[in-house]
């Protein structure tokens, strides 16, 4: 392998480089026609700056084709647009044709993408305004519908290497947006309030220290502090109170309970200290305060020479602000994953070719009714369950059954929704749509499995419950103890205990670490969609893999060549002839040859495709056949080799009658190059690895053996798989399931933690807890390692914050902590906790993927043009 990398997507390019694009006068290497087209489009628009400013490489691009253009034209229909397009500006204005669409853009990697998109689109005639949001990847495009159709804009987005999907701003999305805005408001009120109150607090402290502040100013500052702190407590801290109230109602001590007690208690006490003097006109509080132990000596740390106690407005505001900041970071991480998960569901613009008045038109799949006639082109998904009425083909049902070889279908056979048509265009009569299809049945199984999903207890909750109980107990003891010694001080000391033990750092300890770890995993290519993944991974002792598409790449490749020619022709020459024949077929098997042979040296003529049998053609002056053994050698005198996989026989003939066998080709679904190493790593970590597949026994057995998996189960239906993991769970095991197909979906939902591959079916991706976007299994093992590190960091954080709180507790209980000490300590301990969590962001030891050269056929990988 060389170091040549694609200028656009920076993936390695194998020598010799075939594609080049001119950028600023220099030809730059390109990995595929897709990237080349995109780069040329960017340069043609005068937007080369993108390459100078980008901080992340772009995604590899697939080719544009006619089909995509047709599909995009569906978005020009008014009834499709009503979901995500609205008129721009008020209707009263004369710009009747201006519309605004909300789109979700896929493929945005850094800020330069935003620049590129905005500038490229705004250069189009008819496009008025484009704004792209880097955090949410949402684009707002305003255009003149009479000048340019939406489909052209969408096509332009595809041309520069991104994908656009309608962003249906549904209720959930509106909710997220609202939540985000409300949170920023709360944060602002708390932040501005905290700053101002702290300024006043400095005046109060310095006045108290030098003891020369007239009472009137002290009271004035206190009153204004109260005015500012009130919205902070009532508005900004409201979520804590609500959560605490909910916790109390369900009798569960969470972190919000002590937080609320501290904020509420300190605030009420401060209010009392500020305003009671005006209600108790006889000054009885003064006398009590003067009699208290704190006002006797100059060594007193409380400034209650002539007051009714201390005010904590500054602590209250700052504490609220800090906690809100922590919660806000958590909220943003949660929103980002929720969006990513939702983006996955938005990714299918389902359409199909339906017969209307004798013509086939592209219509949304939702329009289909039973008895409609539908045409399905090779490579397309079958839109509904139905019966094949004309044409014969083979379909790939791997997503539904796990069977990796395409299955032949003749007229009259049943076709399943979501399977992929492989060979030839076919027509089918729809029998079932929507809820009644087989896929929908699997979805129902999924919902059942989700209800039974075992919950994973969160470590922070456990600590919080314990901690809260302790603090409350200590507070009660302190109050009881002090009321015996100095009853007039008992309330203030108890309060200072509550403030000092405010579990600010404690409540940040876990979320800060989890947020950092989630972000780090995302950059590695593992998207964590549900919160319990990181905390749950450490308890996992069973890892279950699906075979097709998970441990294997889910695409056919040539794995063995057995010559029967007694050495007359080299294997390379035989392969050349086979590839020349297969070049005339669209079948996935043919593609396996295409990727194995770098360049064709021979040409086949008079090629005939015998459906379901094989291919026949002339090369030079010999006739050749390749395909099923009984087709290539009708005499039937060759024994098929014993190894599993699909064996193709190539034969040669001079007279069309006597066929001489030449060579066997073995076609298998190739394993991912890193699979064996990952499984070895998992086993070294002490996890039991199981292979669970819907595929036939010999194939599964061979895969398990070559990967060193001791436990495997073949020919399992989705029900079997679910039952298998539920049995394991009832034995007390914690199960992680990794899969990709629709048939894996119920298991993914039922497992303690589930992970879908990046190229998995949409359904599998949305129902999984995490998605392996990069498709590299090693990241799974890395995630386990990271969990161990995360756990260590969480423990350090908990230890530190608990230690701080426990050390401060006796001091506060003894009445030796001033509010400013408590505030400083709180801030410091929070900062230490956050800084410690950020260490998780530093790249640790990452296991490199086995370099591609170790994989025999990797250098022949499809480069996007597939």
């Amino acid at each position: 392998m060389t170091d040549t990398r694609c200028f656009h997507c920076t993936l390695p390019v194998s020598e010799p480089v075939v594609f080049f694009a001119d950028v600023e006068g220099t030809p730059q290497p390109m990995c595929c026609p897709g990237c080349k087209a995109v780069t040329e489009a960017i340069v043609a628009g005068g937007l080369e700056n993108y390459y100078r400013h980008r901080s992340e490489s772009a995604n590899q691009v697939t080719d544009l084709n006619q089909r995509l253009q047709e599909e995009l034209q569906i978005y020009d229909r008014a009834e499709v647009q009503k979901d995500f397009v609205r008129p721009a500006g008020p209707a009263s204005q004369s710009q009747d044709n201006h519309l605004t669409a909300s789109l979700l853009i896929d493929g945005i990697t850094c800020a330069a993408c935003i620049w590129l998109l905005e500038n490229h689109l705004e250069a189009l005639a008819g496009v008025a305004r484009v704004s792209v949001n880097l955090s949410t990847h949402e684009a707002q495009i305003t255009w003149d519908n009479s000048e340019i159709p939406l489909s052209t804009i969408l096509l332009e987005i595809h041309k520069i290497g991104y994908q656009a999907f309608p962003w249906r701003a549904d209720q959930q999305e509106a909710l997220l947006k609202n939540e985000n805005r409300t949170f920023i408001r709360r944060l602002a009120v708390a932040g501005i309030g905290a700053m101002q109150v702290m300024m006043y607090a400095i005046a109060l402290y310095s006045g108290a220290i030098s003891d020369d502040m007239p009472d009137i100013y002290r009271d004035l500052i206190r009153i204004f502090s109260a005015v500012i702190a009130t919205p902070v407590v009532l508005y900004s801290a409201a979520p804590f109170f609500k959560a605490a109230w909910r916790d109390i109602k369900i009798r569960h001590l969470g972190m919000d309970v002590p937080v609320s007690i501290a904020i509420g208690g300190a605030y009420l006490a401060s209010l009392w200290a500020t305003f009671s003097i005006y209600f108790l006109a006889d000054g009885s509080i003064y006398s009590i305060a003067e009699g208290s132990i704190y006002s006797t000596a100059e060594g007193s740390i409380y400034s209650t020479a002539k007051g009714s106690g201390e005010v904590y407005y500054d602590s209250v505001s700052m504490f609220t602000f800090f906690l809100l900041t922590g919660r806000y970071l958590e909220l943003r991480a949660r929103h980002a994953t929720a969006r990513a998960a939702r983006a996955l569901t938005n990714l299918l613009p389902p359409s199909c070719l339906k017969e209307v008045n004798g013509h086939y038109q592209r219509v949304p799949v939702a329009d289909l009714q039973p008895d409609d006639k539908v045409r399905v082109l090779p490579g397309d998904a079958i839109p509904a369950d139905g019966i094949l009425i004309s044409g014969s083909t083979s379909v790939n049902e791997a997503m539904l059954t796990g069977e990796y070889l395409p299955i032949e279908k003749q007229p009259g056979d049943t076709l399943l929704c979501s399977s992929i048509n492989v060979d030839h265009p076919i027509e089918l009569k729809v029998s079932k749509v929507g809820e009644e299809t087989r896929v929908a049945g699997i979805i129902q199984l999924l919902q059942r499995a989700q209800q039974d999903k075992p919950a994973i207890a969160k470590i922070a909750d456990k600590v919080a419950g314990w901690f809260v109980a302790c603090v409350l107990l200590v507070a009660i003891c302190v109050y009881w103890g002090w009321s015996g010694i100095a009853p007039q001080d008992a309330f203030w000391i108890t309060l200072s205990v509550l403030v000092v033990t405010c579990p600010c750092a404690l409540s940040l300890a876990t979320p800060a670490a989890l947020t950092a770890a989630t972000g780090y995993l995302h950059r590695l290519g593992l998207l964590v969609a549900r919160g319990h993944v990181l905390e749950g991974l450490k308890t996992i002792d069973h890892v279950i893999f699906d075979k097709t598409g998970t441990l294997t790449k889910g695409e056919l490749s040539l794995s063995q060549v057995v010559s029967l020619d007694n050495g007359n022709s080299s294997k390379e020459a035989l392969l050349q002839r086979a590839a020349a024949l297969e070049a005339h077929s669209e079948h996935p098997i043919a593609r396996a040859f295409f990727y194995t042979v770098e360049s064709l040296h021979e040409q086949a003529h008079e090629v005939k495709n015998h459906l379901g049998q094989g291919i026949e053609g002339t090369i030079g002056n010999h006739l050749y056949r390749i395909g099923r053994p009984d087709f290539a050698c009708p005499a039937g005198n060759v024994a098929t080799p014993e190894q599993d996989g699909q064996w193709l026989l190539m034969s040669e003939s001079t007279d069309q009658k006597l066929w001489q066998p030449l060579c066997w080709f073995r076609i298998t679904d190739s394993l991912r190059p890193e699979a064996a190493h990952t499984i070895q790593r998992l086993q070294q970590m002490g996890k039991t690895v199981t292979l669970l597949s819907g595929d036939a026994e010999p194939v599964v057995a061979a895969t398990a053996e070559s990967l060193g998996i001791r436990q495997w189960k073949s020919e399992s239906s989705p029900d079997d798989k679910l039952h298998y993991i539920q049995t394991l769970q009832s034995q007390g095991h914690k199960v992680l399931m990794v899969g990709d197909g629709i048939n894996d979906v119920p298991v993914l939902a039922g497992a303690d933690i589930s992970m879908a591959m990046g190229n998995a079916s949409d359904l599998a991706r949305t129902s999984a807890d995490a998605v392996l976007i990069c498709g590299n299994l090693e990241r799974l093992a890395d995630a386990f390692n990271l969990t161990i590190r995360t756990r260590k960091i969480i423990r350090q954080n908990l230890a530190w914050s608990l230690g701080y709180n426990l050390a401060a507790l006796p001091l506060a209980a003894a009445g030796m902590i001033a509010p400013w000490m408590a505030a400083t300590g709180m801030a410091l301990s929070s900062l230490i906790v956050v800084a410690n969590a950020l260490r998780l962001n530093r790249p640790g030891k990452l296991t490199k993927t086995p370099t591609e050269s170790e994989d025999v056929y990797a250098h022949l990988e499809p480069r996007g043009a597939a």
Partner: protein, 58 residues
């Protein structure tokens, strides 16, 4: 010290105005994207590209 009696309420009014402004900015959507604008300032102004007719791109 007497000036405090004017200055402190004045500060309170300023805070109220600041929060009001901030709320307006939030409602205006200025805080919806906290990452993009930080980078976009670094990009040069695009050179004036003549508005191409979209159909030429096809």
């Amino acid at each position: 010290m007497e000036s405090l009696i004017i200055l402190i309420p004045l500060a309170l009014i300023l805070i109220a105005v600041a929060i009001k402004l901030f709320f307006w900015a939030v409602d205006d959507g200025q805080f919806d994207d906290l990452e993009g604008p930080a980078h976009s300032i670094l990009f040069d102004e695009p050179q004036q590209i003549p508005k191409a007719n979209a159909h030429d791109h096809k």
